[in-house]
């Protein structure tokens, strides 16, 4: 995954997307930049991101911080911590849109029940969701309902997670959950 530098000056580029739990452990992570070549550098990065953001209140609005020439946008819900990292010359709002897309899509897919255990039980959905949002650092789609729709349609036939409802119903209830949690 080398040589991204060649086009990241022009194009919005996402360096990584992280989903950690309330202790900073991985639930699902995806790196698109070769800035962290080894597992230990990745874990070190996650650790410092987690410890630097841990005490902040990112439960209502997405929060932002900057270190080591990276911008990190993050949002927490229950025991899950969502992060999106970009370079320091990136448009913060584009990264925020990616985070929001990921966050909302996960909420839709987990039908508003966004917490670690639910996420792990539906890890396949979370991984597919990541795959549909960013491809090799390029933003693929940021509209949560579209992302969730793409992921859910794969599972329609398998009938596993969403069997008792149709997709549209599921999305509707999820959206309801979401608005309710936002209004809280």
């Amino acid at each position: 995954m080398a040589s991204f530098a060649a086009y990241q000056n022009n194009c919005p580029f996402v360096k990584n997307v992280l989903l950690l739990d309330s202790e900073g452990k991985r639930v699902a992570v995806k790196y698109y930049s070769d800035e962290w070549p080894t597992l230990s550098t990745k874990l070190a990065f996650e650790k410092s991101v987690f410890s630097k953001t841990q005490k902040t209140n990112a439960r209502n609005e997405a929060e932002i911080t900057m270190f080591d020439n990276n911008i990190i946008i993050y949002k927490f819900i229950q025991d899950l911590h969502f992060f999106v990292t970009g370079g320091d010359d990136e448009n913060e709002l584009i990264l925020a849109a990616v985070l929001q897309g990921f966050f909302d899509a996960v909420s839709l897919l987990l039908r508003g029940n966004v917490e670690k255990q639910e996420a792990l039980e539906n890890l396949d959905l979370i991984l597919l969701c990541l795959d549909e949002i960013v491809d090799g650092g390029m933003v693929l789609e940021t509209e949560a309902s579209v992302v969730a729709g793409k992921v859910a349609s794969h599972n329609a036939d398998s009938g596993a997670a969403l069997s008792e409802q149709t997709i549209s119903q599921a999305l509707a209830t999820a959206r309801e959950h979401l608005t309710r949690s936002l209004l809280k």
């Binding site: 040589s3 991204f4 060649a6 086009y7 022009n10 194009c11 919005p12 452990k25 991985r26 699902a28 992570v29 597992l39 990745k42 874990l43 630097k52 902040t56 209140n57 609005e61 997405a62 929060e63 932002i64 911080t65 900057m66 270190f67 946008i73 448009n91 913060e92 709002l93 584009i94 925020a96 849109a97 255990q117 792990l120 039980e121 890890l123 396949d124 991984l127 597919l128 795959d131 491809d135 090799g136 390029m138 933003v139 693929l140 789609e141 940021t142 793409k150 349609s153 794969h154 599972n155 329609a156 036939d157 398998s158 596993a160």
Partner: protein
């Protein structure tokens, strides 16, 4: 890797259940075998003899487990990966969409090798032509990710089709894959530009975004094509905010391509003159915040942006400052912070909003707000700001504190009158908890303030002394002690520092003790009245437990004559204590290595003094002022000192007296030419020496007898004395050649044309040996001017008003000048500062935007060591006519007149 994590899970209370509890790689790999041979476990993947019926749910679970392991950082060995890969490929037989999706993911994660790719190619190609959009889109992404060039030509046709597919997901998949492939197979992707062009017009928002990104990358080396593309799109409709952001980036790049002069020559810079400015400005009214911000940021980053162009961008950023979204506030304050570096006045309107951000929950935002305010603040607001910062400092991280400390340092240099409150602030935070980098930043700042603001010296040294009383960092203690040794003896009451220094000898580790001994010796050498007491202290050090400390004490006692032995002359002692080693360390090192043990002792005088490697000029280049402790002891004159040492080591120049000034290096060649030459002008009272730093950039050549032939026909007052040629100039190792001139005492100007003359010899690069015979050759260099600024040293004064008044009006000369039509007041002010080469004081070199008049204060030392102060009053009228009143005060009326002559002729 996952193992320890899992272990921990076990230890915790059983309440938290994880579907992956106790997961083990070996077991999961075993499970994955069921893909291969579904019959083994019919419960999971049942198979009737020919009709394949795979249990999708169970297989998805197994793949999820594999992906979970990979995600946790577990790695598969080559064999394991191959095994899993082959097992997974079997699952292509299933019709289950969800399972297929997981198979795609798994293949991407495994990044199979070329011979493995062939196995799945046909399956993926089948999916690429499937009726199901999801299959098509994802198969394209997978195949493009794992494919190599040869396969790509086979599938190229399908990819071109996919780009213009009516399903946006398929089109986007093909386009994004194209963007990735462009890095590895540009020649293939470039053939798709017609299809991509068509996709740019797509109705689907994201297809347009991806197509635009790809098209721009295909054409990015063709300026004209990019410009056309941008022009047509800025007039058309761009649906997605992301695509709009891209377009803004491309548009601002296009306008950067056009040199600013062209814009300026076309008259006064109206905002509309800049290509695409109108477009950028219109984006400030877009409905998506992402686009508004992108446009505002692009405008602030335009090169040579005028305050008029900036205003609308600043206005929207100001609105963002009070947004409820932290991301928006952060983005705005970060951009404004950057603007404040170049256009502080443009940001002052935001100061009220900015001040309310100091208490922002998000400390990154608060820090940026503070540093912006420190950059834009005026003298009267300093005290209020400091009060707010003091409360804020305790609850931010060290790295933010360092940023704040640096901002305060530059603020203090801008408003030297405020040094007291700023210095107090620094000493307060120095006493608080903090890591090494943070403490070092504070100490560096105090050192710089001491150096640049004479009034701050005593209090600054005192704060440093207090600090080393309780300093846990050996490095900082020794650096401070060294600095104290150089500066302390020159203060009004040196004795008060002795206590602090001797405390180090009693309390600290060996390294600090040794440097404390050296510092004591320096006090003893400089202050005669303290000598007897210093001897007492040094004698106590003779019984130290550490060798280095004892040795130093013995050495210094001998040198200073403390043991009753007849000491060397005072000058030698000072030379030894304060002088730096006058041979380059590299040379000393190689001489020592070459020294073979013999009867004859090693003689340091035989070490060559010529600087071989990097010329001094290049070391000087990065920043004029050496920052921090490393350079502090020798002060701002360190490079001058080095030049002086270099020059005085050349016997021909020894009689020229004291070096007055060395200019910054001036390039005499373009970058990237065969021979790179720059020149440093060394000014003496009655002489000028040009030091030509030459670099030979051709590996196949060796230059010998390199000299510069100087034509002085346009510099009649100068006559050439000596030309010192460089014996040889091998590839990539810079060397210097000198030419010295005699000139009348005081000021003389002239233009010099230069020709580099040398003998060139061919070098065999394989053996590195040069041929015997060389050819004489010449190389034309650019002309060099000796101007007024060369005779002026930039020396600031801390309080201009006091200095001005104490100078008196005996030698004051006042006159008025018309400067003609100027672009702006700022440009006129800058031009005069450059002509005079003086140090602007109290931040008066910054001209507020839109102001009609301005006063600029300059100070400097003119050749002959004459202090000069200048007060410039500028006024501008409607048609950009600039008038200037120049008031000069100096210690010598003749110099005051000279300054006027310089300005009149400039």
């Amino acid at each position: 890797m996952a193992q320890p994590l899992v272990k921990k899970d076990d230890d915790r209370d059983d309440e938290e259940y994880s579907p992956f509890l106790g997961i083990e790689k070996g077991a999961v790999l075993q499970e994955a075998r069921v893909f291969n041979d579904p019959q083994l476990d019919p419960r999971r993947c049942s198979q009737a003899t020919l009709v394949v019926d795979i249990d999708g749910v169970a297989c998805v679970q197994v793949i999820t487990k594999l992906l979970y392991l990979l995600n946790q950082g577990e790695t598969f060995t080559k064999i394991e990966a191959t095994e899993v890969f082959f097992a997974v490929t079997k699952l292509f037989q299933s019709k289950d969409i969800g399972l297929r999706r997981m198979v795609y993911l798994m293949i991407k994660e495994l990044s199979p090798s070329a011979d493995e790719v062939i196995i799945v190619t046909s399956s993926l190609m089948k999916d690429m032509n499937s009726k199901t959009d999801m299959y098509r889109a994802n198969a394209i992404r997978v195949l493009c990710r794992i494919t190599d060039g040869t396969l790509l030509t086979q599938i190229e046709r399908y990819l071109k089709q996919a780009i213009v597919d009516k399903n946006p997901v398929v089109a986007s998949a093909a386009l994004v894959s194209g963007i990735h492939l462009l890095q590895t197979n540009p020649e293939i992707v470039k053939r798709w530009s017609n299809e991509v062009q068509e996709a740019v017009q797509s109705r689907a928002a994201l297809v347009q975004f991806h197509a635009l990104a790809l098209l721009h990358q295909i054409r990015q080396n063709d300026r004209l094509a990019v410009s056309k593309l941008v022009t047509s799109l800025t007039r058309g409709t761009v649906r997605s905010p992301l695509a709009q952001c891209l377009l803004i980036r491309y548009a601002s790049q296009c306008s950067e391509g056009i040199p600013i002069q062209v814009i300026h020559e076309s008259g006064n810079t109206q905002p509309g003159d800049r290509p695409f400015y109108d477009y950028l400005e219109s984006c400030l009214r877009h409905k998506a915040e992402m686009v508004i911000f992108e446009a505002a940021r692009a405008i602030t980053e335009l090169s040579g942006v005028t305050s008029r162009e900036l205003t609308p961008a600043i206005t929207v950023l100001q609105l963002f400052l009070s947004s409820s979204k932290p991301v928006l506030r952060f983005a705005a304050v970060r951009t404004l912070n950057k603007v404040a570096m170049t256009h502080p006045m443009a940001v002052t309107n935001c100061n009220i909003d900015m001040e309310s951000l100091i208490s922002d929950q998000n400390r990154s935002i608060a820090t940026l707000a503070i540093t912006t305010l420190l950059k834009t603040g005026n003298e009267s607001s300093v005290d209020r700001l400091m009060k707010q910062i003091t409360n804020f400092m305790s609850d931010i991280a060290d790295e933010f504190k360092i940023v704040v400390v640096e901002a305060i340092r530059s603020l203090c240099l801008k408003f030297p009158l405020k040094y007291r409150s700023l210095m107090n602030f620094l000493s307060n935070i120095l006493r608080e908890e903090g890591g090494f980098e943070y403490k070092k930043a504070i100490v560096d700042s105090i050192v710089i303030l001491i150096r640049d603001i004479p009034d701050a010296k005593e209090s600054g040294l005192f704060h440093l002394c207090e600090f080393i009383e309780d300093c846990e960092f050996t490095y900082l203690s020794t650096q401070i002690l060294h600095f104290l040794g150089n500066e302390g003896p020159k203060t009004s009451d040196p004795s008060k520092y002795i206590r602090y220094i001797y405390n180090r000898v009693i309390l600290e580790n060996a390294t600090v003790r040794a440097s404390a001994v050296s510092t004591l010796a320096k006090f003893g050498a400089m202050v005669d009245s303290l000598k007897p007491r210093i001897f007492v202290l040094l004698r106590r050090c003779l019984f130290d437990s550490d060798d280095e400390v004892r040795d130093r004490a013995t050495l210094y006692l001998n040198m200073l004559g403390g043991d009753g032995i007849v000491s060397e002359t005072g000058k030698d002692v000072k030379e030894f204590l304060f002088g730096s080693l006058d041979v380059p360390l590299g040379n000393l090192e190689s001489s020592l290595k070459n020294y073979e043990p013999s009867e004859e002792p090693f003689d340091i005088n035989h070490v060559p003094k010529e600087v071989k490697a990097q010329p001094l000029a290049e070391k000087k280049a990065p920043g004029k002022k050496p920052t921090g402790l490393g350079a502090a002891p020798t002060g701002p004159t360190s490079t001058v000192d080095a030049y002086e040492k270099l020059l005085s080591s050349i016997p021909e120049f020894a009689g020229f007296g004291k070096l007055f000034k060395s200019s910054a290096p001036v390039d005499l060649t373009e970058a990237e030419t065969e021979y790179a030459v720059n020149v440093v002008k060394h000014i003496y009272d009655g002489h000028v020496v040009f030091q030509y730093n030459c670099t030979n950039t051709i590996p196949e050549q060796l230059l010998e007898n390199v000299s510069v032939v100087v034509d002085t026909s346009e510099a009649e007052e100068f006559s050439e004395l000596v030309s010192k040629a460089l014996r040889s100039l091998p590839y990539d190792s810079p060397g210097q050649t000198f030419v010295a001139f005699e000139k009348p005492e005081g000021v003389a100007f002239g233009k010099f044309s230069n020709v580099l003359r040398f003998i060139v010899k061919e070098v065999d690069t394989s053996t590195g040996e040069a041929e015997e015979d060389g050819v004489e050759d010449e190389y034309q260099l650019e002309d060099l001017d000796v101007v007024a600024a060369d005779y002026m040293l930039k020396v600031g004064v801390s309080n201009f008003k006091n200095a001005w008044e104490s100078m008196g009006d005996d030698c004051e000369r006042v006159d008025e000048y018309g400067l003609g039509v100027r672009e702006s007041l700022a440009e006129a002010v800058n031009a005069v500062i450059i002509i005079l080469g003086m140090q602007p004081c109290e931040g008066t070199e910054v001209v507020p935007s839109n102001s009609r008049s301005h006063t600029c204060l300059l100070s400097g030392v003119f050749i002959g060591n004459v202090k000069v102060l200048v007060r410039l009053s500028f006024g501008i009228d409607g048609p950009k006519q600039v008038a200037m009143k120049l008031a000069v005060r100096s210690e010598d009326p003749a110099v005051s007149d000279t300054i006027h002559e310089i300005v009149a002729s400039g």
